[in-house]
């Protein structure tokens, strides 16, 4: 299955300048699997969005087809084939 991933422009230096890409994943993927696949290609990007326990950083949000995953099943939220996954910083900072 293939999913479309939108990445924050603020992290473009960690993703080779890319702000979107397509990922080919095994069936029954989750948000965690999407982030794991991104981590394999862009390990520094992964450290920016997840801490070393694997938790999503507090001020990073992930949406699957427009729904924020913390309101669903977190990183275990299913990602259907053809879905759009958006990783974006939340409103924070002084």
């Amino acid at each position: 299955m293939t999913v479309r991933v939108l990445l924050p422009r603020m992290l473009a230096d960690c993703t080779g300048g890319r702000t979107s890409l397509s990922l080919d994943l095994a069936g029954d993927a989750t948000v965690c699997a999407v982030l794991d696949a991104l981590a394999a290609q862009h390990p520094v990007f992964d450290r920016r969005v997840r801490d070393e326990t694997g938790a999503l950083r507090r001020f990073v949000n992930v949406y699957v087809d427009g729904d924020e995953v913390r309101r669903l099943s977190g990183l275990a939220t299913p990602v259907p084939s053809g879905a759009e996954v958006m990783v974006v910083q939340s409103v924070a900072g002084g």
Binding site: M10, L11, P43, V44, V49, E52, S90
Partner: protein, 359 residues
């Protein structure tokens, strides 16, 4: 004359200043703009300069980067330099301290972090290992958080396997076996915010420094209290007499001259401004027995505090002294604090300054 590098970490980025005479400075454009820089280490051992910086993004967390070309390029280990092992279930929140060890231990760099933890690198700061002895300490569950967070903010290596750390809150701990075991060393340091007599640990020691001539002599700026220990931290006595206040965050020791220290007093816990709104550094040349107020070149009106790592000394001769305020002003002294000149102004809050005479 050699070039001196002054690295200025702020709430919103890093600035690098250089000077040939430590009076006239050239300031760089900002690095890591919009990320805070609470820790800097400048390692000049071995005839080369490595600049290590702890940066933290509100969104994207903390990391350590380093530069071997004075900030022209920066490197970051892909796996991260400081990462808690999986079994701890912990994650680094902020890197508070990056401290190169002594010349006779090349490659060794210490880090202090939030949550309260101490780390050691043996490869010049590329990778740090958690000091398990402190992390697994039975006191850890009782350590608290100061307003800035629960952190090991001071790491002061000494001779042999001796290292002193200070944490807020928890106080001073010492190891004599390179970090395997740690003992609290706070006898004589108050903790007015706790009921009853001062405890064995739990103090909010803001900064510690080691004497240049006597490695068993240490100095501490406490959360109310300025202290000296002449017995490697076993006991502490007050050296606050002669200061306008015993509150503040800074404690600096001259790397060349024993008995010489600097503090930057603030009025009190509940009034964190320079006394009378006049910024001054206070220096002692006799290990805290007497103090001299030094303010030449510092602003007459200043209501911003100087944070615990926003002051430093270099290893020049005479020693240089540097202070930065939460108002974004940075001052340098090329004469041990006798007079200051302004390096930069109107920067974001200054969190950390570190200076070195480049090899």
């Amino acid at each position: 004359m050699a070039t001196t590098l002054l690295a200025i970490g702020t709430r919103k980025g890093l600035w690098l200043a250089t000077s040939e005479d430590r009076r006239s400075w050239s300031l760089s454009s900002p690095h890591f703009l919009m990320t805070e820089v609470p820790s800097i280490g400048i390692d000049t051992r071995g005839g080369r300069t490595r600049l290590m910086v702890g940066v933290r993004s509100e969104h994207f967390g903390p990391t350590v980067v380093h530069s071997d070309d004075l900030g022209v390029t920066w490197d970051e280990p892909a796996a991260g330099a400081i990462r808690f092992p999986a079994d701890t279930g912990a994650a680094v929140e902020r890197i508070w301290q990056l401290r190169p060890d002594a010349d006779d231990r090349p490659g060794v760099v210490w880090a202090g972090c939030e949550p309260i933890s101490v780390w050691r690198s043996d490869d010049g700061g590329d990778h740090f290992e958690l000091c398990r002895g402190l992390w697994d300490h039975p006191h850890r569950a009782e350590w608290g958080a100061g307003y800035g967070g629960a952190a090991a903010h001071s790491v002061v290596p000494g001779p042999g396997g001796t290292v002193h750390v200070a944490m807020s809150t928890g106080g001073v701990y010492r190891t004599r076996d390179g970090g395997a075991s740690w003992q609290p060393r706070n006898a004589g340091i108050s903790a007015y915010f706790l009921p009853g007599p001062a405890p064995e640990f739990g103090q909010c020691v803001h900064k510690i420094a080691r004497d240049a001539a006597d490695p068993r002599r240490l100095y501490a700026q406490n959360h109310h209290g300025v202290h000296r220990s002449d017995d490697d931290g076993d006991t502490w006595t007050s050296i606050a007499a002669g200061l306008p206040s015993d509150f503040g965050f800074v404690m600096l020791a001259d790397p060349r001259r024993g008995g010489r220290i600097w503090v930057v007093p603030l009025v009190a816990d509940g009034q964190r401004i320079p006394p009378d709104g006049r910024l001054a550094v206070h220096r002692s040349d006799d290990a805290g027995e007497t103090w001299q107020r030094l303010d030449a070149g510092l602003p007459v009106d200043e209501y911003n505090a100087v944070l615990r790592d926003a002051a430093c000394v270099d290893a020049g001769d005479p020693v240089g002294v540097y202070v930065g305020t939460r108002g974004g002003e940075v001052y340098a002294s090329a004469d041990a604090g006798e007079s200051f000149t302004q390096v930069a102004g109107h920067l974001p809050d200054v969190l950390c300054v570190r200076a070195a005479v480049l090899p």
